[in-house]
């Protein structure tokens, strides 16, 4: 295992220290319990948007703390959900009197810990669960779809609504609308190695890739031979398109995401192919995001997320945001 770390036991804490040093104008890092809070929190009269999850997906979630996005993020250990203590602390530190909306990615651990926190919190709290990964069957026989790339778009759009002063019920309703309109799928060319495990999370031969991977080093739907970029993009887009389904005339935001170890040149290449495929289907790409925004440590691979837009979502997407990882209009 080759990593730029001192000790697997302290990797999250050490990285948080670096984040604090790099972005002290935007956020304040509290340790024990670990919470990353907007520098100007609590913001009076505004809904506090709070998320969190295992570490190792940076910039998600800490990199999205700041004006127009998250009020706080709760970083768990690598690939392990945070504890309810962290979430309770985040709620308390960001309480501006308008309640808190928790954005929970659909994993059993995250759901249970955020649920306990919501029960314990002293503020009015609502939770939404995002489950946009079409690689997982949503049936009685699974824990349901995972929350993946759509989370980034959800946090941006609902963050803008909270920033403009929408109340808790409005933020929740908007969040549910975004969740209903967003779908994602990912693939991996290489596995990643969790620091405290020390070996790759799954095996992939030199000529294999894994389609339908999650963001925690979980293997996916199937191992297949490595193909061309065009085939890869089609393998991700088709299940997304047929799921919602998206159809000709739809306006979408296309998010081409890197898994952490993917060079940007490859991401742009894949993005170009996706734009072409969507144009061929009569789907209009109105907004786009390209880059590594929700990652799995050093995993090489990509995911595609498609969000069906309406006018309000476009307006909120374009609204100013000032966080370590997303910034515009400020």
């Amino acid at each position: 295992m080759k990593k730029i770390i001192n000790d697997p036991e302290t990797v999250v804490q050490d990285a948080l220290r670096g984040m604090q040093a790099a972005h002290s104008d935007l956020l304040t890092v509290h340790h024990d319990p670990a919470v990353i809070v907007r520098a100007d929190a609590p913001v009076a009269g505004k809904v506090a948007l709070i998320s969190g999850g295992g570490s190792g997906h940076e910039p998600l979630h800490g990199g999205f703390v700041g004006r127009g996005m998250l009020a706080a993020a709760c970083p768990g250990p690598v690939f392990t959900s945070p504890t309810s203590d962290q979430v309770v602390d985040a709620i308390a530190r960001t309480d501006g009197g308008a309640g808190a909306l928790l954005i929970v990615k659909n994993y059993t651990g995250d759901v249970l810990n955020f649920e306990m926190a919501a029960e314990l919190a002293e503020t009015e709290v609502r939770s939404v669960v995002i489950d946009d990964d079409v690689a997982v069957k949503d049936s009685l026989y699974t824990a349901g779809r995972r929350g993946v790339g759509g989370t980034v778009l959800l946090e941006k759009i609902v963050g803008a609504a909270a920033e403009r002063g929408d109340d808790l019920a409005a933020c929740e309703a908007l969040a549910l609308r975004v969740i209903a309109s967003v779908r994602s799928m990912g693939l991996a060319l290489t596995a990643c190695t969790v620091p405290h495990v020390g070996e790759p999370s799954f095996e992939l031969a030199d000529d294999e890739m894994e389609i339908g991977i999650g963001i925690h080093g979980e293997p996916g739907r199937q191992k297949v031979p490595v193909s061309t970029a065009s085939e890869m993009v089609a393998a991700l887009l088709e299940p997304i398109l047929s799921d919602l389904p998206f159809s000709s005339g739809d306006r979408v935001l296309l998010f081409t995401n890197g898994m952490g170890g993917t060079p940007l040149i490859e991401l742009y290449l894949a993005h170009g192919i996706a734009e072409q495929l969507l144009a061929d289907r009569g789907i209009t790409v109105e907004r786009r995001l390209v880059g590594p925004y929700i990652t799995s440590l050093e995993m090489q691979g990509m995911s595609i997320t498609l969000l069906r837009l309406d006018d309000e979502m476009v307006e909120l997407w374009d609204a100013p945001v000032h966080t370590p990882a997303l910034r515009w209009g400020v």
Partner: protein, 191 residues
């Protein structure tokens, strides 16, 4: 005890999950031991409560709230009794199982810790009368329950994403439940 089995639990979770169960449990129980050493509570109920809050605040993942709820419910069942008799222990185990099911909504056969805890509760009979005997029976049953998860296809938790591919591996949470019960039984036998 859990600490000694960290790597085994990590490996089990690596096969069908995300390879953190051993690390999560180790982190939690290391904190538990430290807090119990620092300020030993004076009743079994308080011990259970301290274990519960410590696990809730340190384990994270699915296992944290589930074990936390289990110990919290067990603490309530035990109340402020100063000594544990066999019936109290049996009631506490039942309460723990109810808590896990209430929080996680899993049933027997879903390939979770419920598959270890359910037979353990059933086996913890007080016919012989001693706490040690009841816990030993529970631990044996939990171990078998854990073994029974091997062929199962997971329907709850992270392993469920794998569908059929989850069969052929033991569920890590059922294994840690069996280990915990074994450690309770061993402690009871020694005292």
């Amino acid at each position: 005890m859990i600490q000694d089995h960290r790597d085994e639990l990590v490996r089990l979770d690596q096969a069908i999950g995300d390879a953190d169960h051993g690390e999560n449990m180790k982190r939690g129980f290391t904190a538990v031991v430290a807090r119990l050493d620092a300020e030993p509570p004076d009743t079994p109920g308080k011990v259970l409560k301290l274990v519960a809050t410590t696990l809730i605040s340190t384990v994270g993942g699915a296992a944290g709230p589930l074990y936390g709820t289990a110990f919290l419910r067990a603490a309530s069942a035990v109340g402020d009794a100063s000594e544990l008799d066999c019936d109290t222990v049996a009631r506490a185990l039942q309460a723990a199982l109810d808590g896990v099911i209430a929080r996680g909504k899993a049933a027997v056969g879903d390939k979770t810790m419920v598959d270890a805890l359910t037979p353990a509760v059933a086996a913890a009979s007080c016919a012989e009368g001693t706490v040690a005997a009841a816990l030993a029976a529970a631990a044996d049953a939990a171990a078998e329950g854990a073994n029974s998860t091997v062929p199962m296809v997971a329907r709850k938790g992270r392993a469920s994403y794998l569908g059929e591919r989850s069969a052929g591996h033991m569920d890590p949470g059922s294994r840690s439940t069996a280990l915990l019960l074994r450690s309770f039984a061993d402690t009871a036998a020694k005292s």
